[in-house]
Symmetry: C2
Subunit: 508 residues, 2 copies
């Protein structure tokens, strides 16, 4: 009996290993599509990716996995499995159920609708007219609601929106998020109102820095965070794309950035942000390679790592104390008139705006809270798809004090809904919240973390992040991991305190 | 009955399409491995490629393919299939048999031996000692002989070596190749002896040309042959690797080159050579995409296309008439003292040497003939693995007049045998022979081909090659295609005539 259990478990892991390898191979093609692929290869690449996805789906839904899971779960010896083994079984079961409980018709229909909705979203955005997108968004939403209705009991969650969120941030109820975001909103609005009135000098950020110099800056920054892109054991690389991203698996995690000659910090912060994501993937436990437990905890935790490196470190006095001389060295003194105070003021300016991806650290979370509230209202039936632009614009006016002029700069700005990614947005702001809680603990445990950053040494911080977060992989659900690392549950006040502290120090 | 036949045929093609797509996806990973992959990702990449190969093998040997083939071949309506359909069935049958007739044990053993033999070949080459490689090469050879014994009757060929050659150059007997090579050798030896005595000036080829300039030259040359690497419909790209190669499928065919600052023509000719390979793949009939008939004819025909562009065009008076001014423009007049005559002399110098991949156009074929004779003697039992260095050195002395000092510059120079690629070498020289025959026909049919090249217009030539060779895909076996295109069987004299004519014009 015992032997059969072990055999089944090992067979199950072997099947998962194949899946991991296939997914990692697909990631290389996805990376290539954005970076290297000749433009004329578009259709062929579509066929390649579709084929690999078909394989992947077939492997995920393979009946043998279902049989192995059942046999393991029902085994007398199940309790003899250790925590890691049980977690692996649990995560494979979750993936298997999510992929097999939906009727094939619904899956196919949703896939087709993704392409149609994306096309209409693009057209609508270009025409600045939500009406063009509305019927296809409605259909996409209905399909996702159907999926949520089936998956909610499978996942053991209460609401339809819970079932959506669970894909990105497992086991956090919308109720918890709602309460947390409510608290955060109450703290953020006065902070933003106070510090956005400050007229800070950001002109120096627009000084021309040639692409070649920005590439040198990117290399230097990668070196600072210990993201190896050139050594004989390098496991990363940096390329150029319009929208920066991180992609890869274990020993091959690549990031991209963009270079705007009149906005050099755009690339700087992109490299720090994506570098934070990459460090997470690169520092997962190698003993858990090819196992579900050896993957990242959640989208929110991933975002906590990118934001930690980008904002907490990259916009800190300590980093700029180290980095300003480097910057001047690489630009032949182009910023020698800028001191740390002025630098900090520039990279931390608070300014309510209409576009999420251009938002600063403080207002960003409000963009997310708006989307969360809207998604929640959609799934509970309190708002209809047709009302989205109106609701959107009202919230932007109320929370951020900006007046949306057209749908393109409003409800149509993000692609997520066209892809059917309802429930994704909250993770971004949860990342901010986790991040501040993590910072709090780090400062307690690594007293010299900041003095070392000032010397250009990020390693003590990186090692602590690796030890506490990266190496935990997917052994815990996000709320468990947060508790484990910080000793407390989710607490948005630390993020608000962190912002307040930083702005007070900068703006007095 | 008829309907079933068509259904079976379409199902068979669908299965082949999946295979083509998977192979093309794998090619992107192989390309990435050589060009972009971070060095630390080596082990992961090995896993990815092994997994995709396993998939590929499973798909090729899928029982359903066997059943479909049998059903189609036995169908009453088989004769109602057209030539293209019958060729597709034939080629899939060939691939299926080659992959299913060998016992799994032999396949696995050979795969393992490839890794072991490769490692020992590398060690032996570094130590300049064949003895280190000998036992592993012997084992590899024995495994390949076992395979040949099984496959010879399946392929309907006479000798074991025939069965090996058939993988690269279908349906050409070693007897035919032997006779052809014998004729060629008799013509080449006096030509080489005559023209290698000429003391030509090649010093100007060593003038330093920075890598950035060489990259511009590569772009210009790509443009000349109409290999699009930058347009919005580009289907190619050029990257840097130690050993140049071409890889890809239909709409995504990439080449690589190397840049030696003291040898700029090395990259120039690499780009032309690989560009010739790429043109073949890019100009296959798009109506036959994802079908076996829509692949290249043979390794020899592929080589005929690369050699055509590299040697026949790239080392011609006509090309240099066009190219010298361009070269001077790109190098700020660095070669303004070189006229066409001097240029031609430099890039066509004949010099017997020890290393195949460094050989000139005339001596190259002798390197191949030596390898062919050795492989033939090995498979017929006339030579033992232990005797290889001695036989090798004797032939190099006799045919090329060079004395091999150690195994590293002799029998160990090529990796092919370590990989088990017996029967591959002949294709290189067959490519030369096809190439000269093709040239002969081209000049007959496209009278202005050379005057247009002088004006920088390669298109008439390229279009003729596409119409006659590229578009024929794999509809014919190489000897049939040669007959179809040139109106005659294999004839090595045209290659000898071509060389003689060229050298006479250059050296008087």
């Amino acid at each position: 009996m015992e032997t059969k259990l072990i055999k089944d478990y090992e067979r199950l892991l072997l099947k998962y290993k194949d899946l991991s390898i296939l997914a990692s191979a697909k990631a290389v093609l996805q990376w290539d599509t954005e970076t290297m692929m000749p433009q004329g290869a578009f259709e062929l690449r579509g066929q390649q990716l579709a084929f690999l996805s078909k394989m992947e789906h077939r492997m995920i839904t393979d009946r043998e996995i279902g049989d192995l899971l059942e046999s393991i779960e029902r085994s007398q010896g199940y309790d003899s499995l250790d925590q890691i083994q049980r977690r692996n079984v649990y995560l494979i079961r979750k993936q298997y159920d999510e992929n097999t409980k939906l009727p094939e018709e619904l899956v196919t229909e949703t896939e087709k609708q993704t392409i149609i909705a994306y096309k209409h979203w693009k057209d609508a955005k270009a025409a600045k007219n939500f009406k063009i997108f509305e019927p296809e968004l409605r259909k996409m939403f209905e399909l996702k609601k159907q999926a949520a209705e089936i998956l909610a009991p499978v996942k053991g969650v209460r609401t339809l929106y819970d079932a959506m969120i669970d894909f990105f941030e497992p086991k956090i109820a919308e109720e918890t998020i709602g309460r947390t975001f409510e608290q955060l909103k109450d703290r953020l609005i006065p902070i933003i109102s106070k510090y956005s009135s400050y007229n800070c000098d950001t002109d120096w950020l627009k000084r021309t820095v040639p692409q070649s110099t920005q590439m040198e800056i990117a290399k230097k920054v990668a070196e600072f965070i210990n993201y190896d892109i050139s050594g004989s054991n390098a496991r990363g690389r940096i390329d150029r794309t319009e929208h920066p991203f991180t992609i890869g698996y274990y020993d091959d995690v690549r990031i991209t950035t963009h270079y705007y000659e009149e906005n050099f910090t755009s690339s700087l912060f992109s490299v720090l942000h994506e570098g934070g994501h990459a460090l997470y993937e690169l520092n997962l436990d190698p003993n858990w390679k090819y196992q579900p437990v050896g993957t990242a905890c959640s989208f929110g935790f991933h975002e906590s790592q990118s934001r930690f490196v980008e904002n907490v470190v990259g916009r800190s006095r300590h980093f700029w104390t180290y980095f300003l001389p480097i910057l001047n060295q690489l630009t032949s003194g182009q910023f020698s008139d800028i001191d740390t105070a002025k630098a900090l003021e520039g990279v931390n300016s608070v300014k309510p705006s209409k576009i999420r991806i251009e938002a600063d650290e403080a207002t960003y979370a409000l963009h997310i809270i708006i989307r969360f509230e809207i998604e929640s209202a959609l799934f509970s039936g309190k708002v209809d798809v047709a009302e989205l632009p109106q609701v959107w614009n009202e919230k932007y006016s109320k929370y951020l004090g900006v007046e949306i002029q057209n749908d393109s700069e409003g409800v149509l700005q993000d692609v997520h809904w066209a892809h059917g990614y309802f429930g994704y947005f909250p993770s971004y702001a949860l990342g901010n919240i986790y991040c501040a809680q993590i910072l709090n603990k780090l400062e307690e445990e690594v007293e010299n973390c900041w003095s070392e950053v000032e010397k250009g040494n990020f390693e003590p911080t990186r090692q602590w992040l690796t030890g506490n977060i990266h190496r935990a992989g997917n052994l815990y659900d996000p709320m468990e991991l947060l508790l484990k690392v910080t000793g407390e549950g989710i607490n948005p006040n630390l993020f608000a305190n962190y912002l307040e502290g930083k702005y007070r120090a900068i703006y007095g």
